[in-house]
């Protein structure tokens, strides 16, 4: 299609009136659009990203967590609702709305069938993630395959989709939505719809906003996902009388390779080597127990730990005995024959790094190294100690990986109820505004992280938002 015909088509699409306007183009948006359409509504999906980048952070995902009572061809065993709830309670430390969370978990039981019906295919857990084989259903081909399947279904159902189309303004009066301004190819279009579904993700790509919450440190954060999740929908809703949930500082941040691109580096920039060595900061000092627990469980705290260090940078240092003990990384390790040489390459003070490594080596107690158990290899007399998998860093060559905080997911959002209706400041639900996905995930996940729950929340509330918006329009 030439750009002119594309623009004509877009103008024609944007000139129509819709029953349901869905803002966003990821998992939550598509689940909502599909369900609203199946309920008979005329649906328009506006996605700010170009076609290739459609599906925001959903493109980068690999699994969703769903409760189930029996094993199936992919999930290796039952995952009862109660266990899911216990897991959620533990990671959030109670920062969750119990009613909504339990409701989400119950509804998650239907996701397996629902996703299959939309053409999404699953596979057993990927190499290196066996611990998730029972609880999480992995998408065959990853998140982009899921997104492709959902768009294909949307197309077959006759849902209109427009890419490169960003919502820049909302007309809301007394909690009632009437129209949105959609910016397309440099022009603003007023699009009227009877109901709105806000499914535009989080604000993790909005560095300014992150800086407001975190201070100037946020300038050094890497954004693991799409550059298009600027949180503009969230901001507009909050500015127009919608009740806020969550803390802008709460987010899922992991330590990733500092050489990753600023945006969209995705899964392949993660590093799993922390437990096998030590991690030092810019001053060549250790700052946390690297062997506290298994990596998957500790994965999500290291982003914050590194964020708290000077210049928001850390360096994982291991020796040749550990180099093939973890998932391979996309970037080659920085290699050196001696600790001093390594320090030189990392631009750390060689004397200080030597002292830190020597001090660590001297504190390592004898033990039986076992990467598959919380073993008895630990240090004694250090602050902080390393409590498991502590082996001396003594066999050259030595290797280092630089670490930076990588933001995955933000928790600040809009308050919703079980019908996915957006709650206004006065506590009343909006009649025709619904929200799903990361934009409301903070209702369930106020803190901490449980692998795969982002997609669960998006799919559960997306389905409900679509259904409820469809119902509203019909009545």
């Amino acid at each position: 299609m030439s750009s002119e015909t594309a623009r004509d088509r877009a103008s024609e699409i944007l000139a129509r009136r819709y029953d349901v306007l869905v803002v966003g183009g990821g998992n939550a948006a598509l689940c909502a659009a599909i369900n609203a359409r199946r309920g008979g509504a005329e649906v328009l999906v506006v996605e700010a990203a170009p076609r290739f980048y459609r599906g925001g952070n959903t493109r980068h995902t690999r699994n969703l967590r769903c409760a189930h009572d029996e094993a199936n061809e992919v999930l290796t065993g039952p995952y009862p609702e109660e266990e899911f709830w216990d897991d959620l309670l533990r990671v959030t430390g109670g920062e969750t709305d119990e009613e909504l969370a339990k409701f989400t978990i119950r509804e998650s039981k239907e996701l397996w069938d629902f996703m299959n019906e939309q053409g999404v295919r699953f596979q057993p857990s990927l190499g290196g993630t066996l611990s998730l084989g029972r609880t999480n259903a992995f998408f065959l081909g990853g998140g982009r395959a899921l997104i492709n399947a959902l768009y294909l279904t949307a197309e077959k159902l006759g849902i209109e989709v427009l890419y490169d189309a960003e919502v820049t303004d909302l007309e809301i009066e007394d909690g009632f939505f009437s129209a949105a301004a959609v910016s397309y190819a440099g022009r603003e279009h007023r699009v009227e719809a009877k109901a709105l579904v806000a499914a535009a993700g989080g604000f993790e790509a909005n560095i300014e906003w992150l800086t407001e919450a975190w201070g100037p440190e946020a300038e050094n954060f890497l954004i693991r996902g799409t550059p298009y999740n600027k949180g503009s929908m969230l901001r507009m809703l909050l500015d127009r009388g919608v009740k806020q949930i969550g803390d802008p500082k709460q987010c899922h941040a992991v330590a990733i390779d500092a050489r990753a691109p600023k945006f969209d580096g995705g899964i392949s920039t993660r590093l799993d080597c922390v437990v096998f060595g030590i991690v030092v900061n810019r001053n060549a000092e250790r700052f946390y127990d690297e062997g506290e627990d298994f990596w998957p469980k500790r994965y999500a705290i290291w982003g914050r730990l590194v964020a708290a260090q000077p210049d928001q940078i850390g360096y994982a240092i291991i020796d040749s005995r550990s180099i093939d003990k973890f998932m391979p990384s996309i970037f080659p390790p920085i290699e050196a024959g001696s600790i001093e040489e390594l320090a030189g390459k990392l631009e750390l003070d060689p004397g200080k790094l030597r002292a830190t490594v020597d001090g660590f080596n001297a504190a390592v107690q004898p033990g039986n190294f076992d990467p598959n158990a919380l073993d008895d290899c630990r240090t004694e007399g250090l602050a902080p100690e390393k409590t498991h998998w502590a082996r001396t860093i003594s066999e050259p060559p030595f290797y280092a990986y630089p670490l930076r905080p990588g933001i995955t997911f933000t928790y600040l959002g809009v308050r919703v109820n079980k019908r996915a209706q957006i709650i206004m400041d006065d506590g009343k639900p909006s009649a025709n505004m619904f929200a799903a996905g990361e934009i409301m995930a903070g209702n369930v996940l106020g803190q901490g992280y449980l692998a795969g729950i982002g997609m669960t929340i998006g799919a559960v509330f997306g389905r409900i938002a679509g259904r409820e918006a469809g119902n509203y329009v019909r009545n």
Binding site: R121, L140, G142, R144, S268
Partner: protein
């Protein structure tokens, strides 16, 4: 480090994929990749020949172009694969056949058709060549059976030998030559190849024009492959008829060689035509367009062998028979002698890669699915 730029690129991609692994369930390439952390030229040649070019990992990849990581596994592996054919060619002097392969194959084919036409006209009686011939031994009045067997037997044996040498080079390159070959792995590979198990995008179908899965390439490939096998079977049965029973061609419409040959010939016409069509509409972004010549030449040869065979069958009782026989035999001869120097070898190396993959899985204790 790496012998070519394409191998270097393949190494870069495999490192990204190995850190990502999202495509693990799509085919055999990714699980085989995961058994390694670093990749030698031989490893990359192995992985590239294991790839069936289904395209799924291109559309499923969050890092595909225009993403800055520029991950295009099908295109890169396709380039590496074609280069590997060249490097295994025997004798080495014929390796350049793989450059501008389309042109080379077309030249050889037309030359051999011309030689048969001229040869028939020079040596056989024009009265026989251009008149209706029927009954036992009709074909052999134009070219004596023994001459046919000698010429085609020699061409075929040469092709088999050259390909055997190529296969040995491949087997050594991918690091499999020291290992014991078990029957079970070969059987597994035969099943995987026979079904084209890895041309299905992990179960949804292969992707050709866009992210919409389709199974058409698999169907057309089955038509081509099984068509080819049926034609081989037809020739073998006819040879047995000739030597064991003294029954001379042409055979009746309901005889086994003719039925096998007809069904096989139809497969060889429909299959390559379908594959050519699919090639035409295929998303250029994931194809190694510079190498289309080789694929097209191979498909065209198969199509022409099939089509001229069918024509010969239908017009064998007309004066056109002599000319058609020359053309058909010309294409068959051209096909035989270019077999080791064209796309035909893909089947051989891919099969070898599947055997190797089955061996690796057994060694890793992952037998079964």
């Amino acid at each position: 480090m790496f012998a070519t730029k394409d191998l270097e690129e393949a190494d870069r991609l495999m490192r990204i994929c190995n850190a990502c692994r999202y495509c693990e369930g799509l085919c055999a390439v990714f699980p085989a990749m995961e058994m390694r952390r670093t990749f030698s030229d031989g490893d990359l040649n192995y992985l590239s020949n294991l790839c069936h070019q289904c395209g799924a990992c291109y559309y499923d990849c969050q890092y595909a172009p225009p993403h800055e990581f520029d991950v295009n596994v099908p295109r890169t592996l396709s380039k590496v694969r074609t280069d590997s054919y060249r490097s295994y060619a025997w004798p080495r002097a014929f390796a350049p056949m793989f450059e501008r392969n389309g042109l080379m194959v077309a030249l050889v084919a037309s030359l051999s058709v011309a030689v048969f036409l001229i040869g028939f006209m020079a040596w056989s009686d024009p009265g026989v060549m251009f008149s209706t011939q029927t009954g036992e031994g009709a074909f052999y009045r134009i070219m004596p059976h023994n001459a046919m067997v000698a010429v085609f037997g020699a061409a075929f044996l040469y092709a088999i030998f050259a390909m055997w040498m190529g296969f040995n080079a491949f087997w050594k390159d991918i690091g499999a030559s020291g290992e014991r070959l078990e029957g079970q792995s070969v059987w597994q590979a035969m099943k995987d190849a026979g079904q084209l198990r890895y041309l299905d995008g992990g179960g949804v179908g292969c992707m050709n024009e866009d992210e919409r899965p389709t199974d058409m390439r698999r169907h057309y490939h089955h038509a081509t492959f099984y068509g080819f096998m049926l034609c081989l079977a037809s020739t073998s049965v006819a040879t047995i008829y000739h030597y064991a029973f003294g029954w001379e061609a042409p055979y009746s419409w309901y005889s086994l060689p003719v039925i096998l040959g007809t069904v096989g010939g139809i497969g060889l016409v429909v299959g390559p035509a379908g594959l050519l069509g699919a090639k035409w509409t295929r998303d250029r972004a994931m194809s190694d367009t510079g190498r289309f010549g080789m694929d097209i030449a191979f498909l065209a040869m198969l199509f022409l062998v099939g089509a001229t065979g069918l024509l010969l069958l239908f017009l064998r009782a007309t004066p056109a028979m002599g000319t058609l026989l020359a053309i058909h035999l010309g294409f068959v001869f051209g096909f035989f002698i270019t077999m080791p120097y064209g796309k035909f070898v893909h089947g051989l190396y891919r099969f070898g890669a599947l055997v190797r993959y089955a061996m690796e899985r057994r060694a890793a204790g992952l037998v079964g699915a």
